[in-house]
Symmetry: C2
Subunit: 335 residues, 2 copies
């Protein structure tokens, strides 16, 4: 990742003035590998770097390190600083409580102050980093010249029900659909909403003022008592608060092997399989077993005659789940 | 168990002169709960006592504590002494290597010296301790009066293929049968061979002299170099070496809820189930899962949407196996 960013940095040296990485993950969907204390953005599997580390590496050269910000929860500030030691410590900003992406974006705009500000999720995978960077450069050019919010629309590879969509013609956002609607959206050429968007700080501020004035108080940061202000803020997503109402949306299509790494099922996509279609990390003995995702972070795991399971062990927890039921993980936390 | 032995000890105070518990388990079938270092006889589940502890408790009062011996492997002497601290330390005898039950019984006879000697496995479950003790008293009476080897024949509850059988009419032993033969044996009234047998020490010595003279060298114990002698001994079971040839066999039938706890499947028989037929020990969270055996000896286990698995976690190992495949456990050790 470093080598790519170095090799192609001449392409658009600091074409983005400020970058804000939104890192508010709760850690539930990758439990027990991730936890509330080490949520998804810290996930590091199969010898790779953490997702938030990858998110920063991916934009190196397009924006100066000193101009990269992270908005995360108060509790994760310290872990995030440790994970991204090259960023100025004060650029890692902790929200006192969860108030969805509306508040996080407003806080990020306030921290960024001015220039073209780009927002990125902290927990995505990108297959084609060079492609990603080219698309970003194009988006940054548009955002730099016009008072628009430029969003990246990902070319869908299947009728996903787990992502929102953007109609690139009308520039309208639509929420996560059911399968039937998802299929229609694909036929109509709708794109996935990857949660990547850029605009001048002024444009963001104007959009908040017009459509979500209740979040404007955050623009006085750091001269406010954040805990007090947050208590009174509405829980509202940036898409719902601003993007669905703002009329100056521009969509730049992107096709760079994007995925949001939503659950353990993604492991099957990204990691190598043994001859029995098992994905393994750590010491795993496998006999007559296939299609399993097996991650041993504590003692050796031995599988005998089992199929299509997700088996994850850490020193603190052991998960044994049917792969097809992994989206119901939250049921475990209710118990 | 103690209370039963105390309550009924008047029934036959020390009717057995010496007891020898054969504790040579390898620990494979209950891995990872049991290991070569902590084999099956040390298995302690669901708050109960270890199987070897239960084996001793079951005969308390029928034989004096100072007259209970254990023949185990050299490596397990120390752990066995710790588990059974009330036995004289020198009564726990370690074999230098595995030579099957032929050698272990000969060594036990030598340690017991004289009187009526009873042999017991170390890894069995008995449902009806009082019934067990009554049968033993009867067997001890016969063995005390006649130069016979008295064996307990368990009334079968199903056509087991995992046990040997005894024909109580001809007093002949037959090896573990296939299912077809097992069914025939049940019709013929054959009994299970539980590996419990009694005789006067002299009778045992005579039988060895007649049918397994190669094991006679052990009668000079402790005045022999056990390691040297064992190296030269044949690997032969006591049933094959002596019982199948000796003509002075007596069979006392027993029906006291006997089981040899052969594998994790036995957990389904002995331990309580939740409303979804799961057997659980330790912290286990179970969602939409049924028929599982779940033993958490390290971190909490969470099951989601899985059925009929054996999930065992210890600080050293994690086993996830299909319940129907549990008899193939050895495949894991070959890897």
């Amino acid at each position: 990742m470093y080598s790519i960013s170095q090799k192609f940095s001449y392409m658009a040296k600091n074409c983005i003035d400020k970058a804000v990485i939104l890192a508010g993950g709760s850690g539930e969907r990758f439990w027990p590998l991730s936890t509330p204390e080490r949520p998804k953005q810290f996930l590091r599997v199969f010898g790779g770097e953490s997702l938030i580390r990858q998110s920063v590496n991916r934009i190196l050269g397009l924006v100066a390190t000193k101009d990269i910000f992270v908005v995360t929860s108060k509790e994760l500030v310290s872990a995030t600083r440790k994970e991204l030691p090259e960023l100025p410590a004060e650029n890692i900003i902790g929200e006192p409580m969860r108030r969805d992406t509306g508040a996080a974006v407003a806080l990020g705009v306030s921290a960024a102050k001015n220039g073209v500000v780009a927002f990125f999720p902290s927990d995505q995978m990108v297959g084609d980093t060079l492609g990603f960077r080219k698309v970003l450069m194009k988006a940054a050019q548009i955002a730099g010249k016009q008072p628009k919010i430029v969003t990246i629309g990902i070319k869908p590879t299947f009728p996903a029900t787990g992502f929102g969509y953007i109609d690139p013609v009308t520039k309208r956002f639509v929420e996560k659909p059911d399968l039937k609607h998802a299929k229609t959206y694909l036929k109509k050429g709708f794109l996935w909403n990857a949660g990547i968007f850029l605009a001048q700080a002024e444009t963001f501020r104007g959009a908040f003022a017009a459509f979500a004035p209740e979040l404007k108080t955050l623009f006085d940061w750091p001269n406010i008592n954040l805990s007090k202000v947050y208590t009174a803020l509405p829980r509202i997503s940036f898409d719902f608060a601003v993007m669905e109402k703002f009329r100056g949306i521009e969509v730049v299509p992107g096709d760079f092997g994007w995925d949001d790494v939503g659950s353990f099922a993604a492991f099957d996509k990204y990691f190598p399989h043994d001859t029995n279609s098992n994905v393994r990390e750590g010491p795993c003995t496998v006999v007559d077993s296939s299609g399993n995702i097996c991650v041993a972070r504590s003692a050796r795991i031995s599988l005998l005659g089992v199929n299509n399971l997700v088996v994850i062990t850490t020193p603190d927890a052991v998960l044994v789940a049917d792969k097809s039921r992994i989206s119901e993980m939250k049921k475990l936390f209710k118990k």
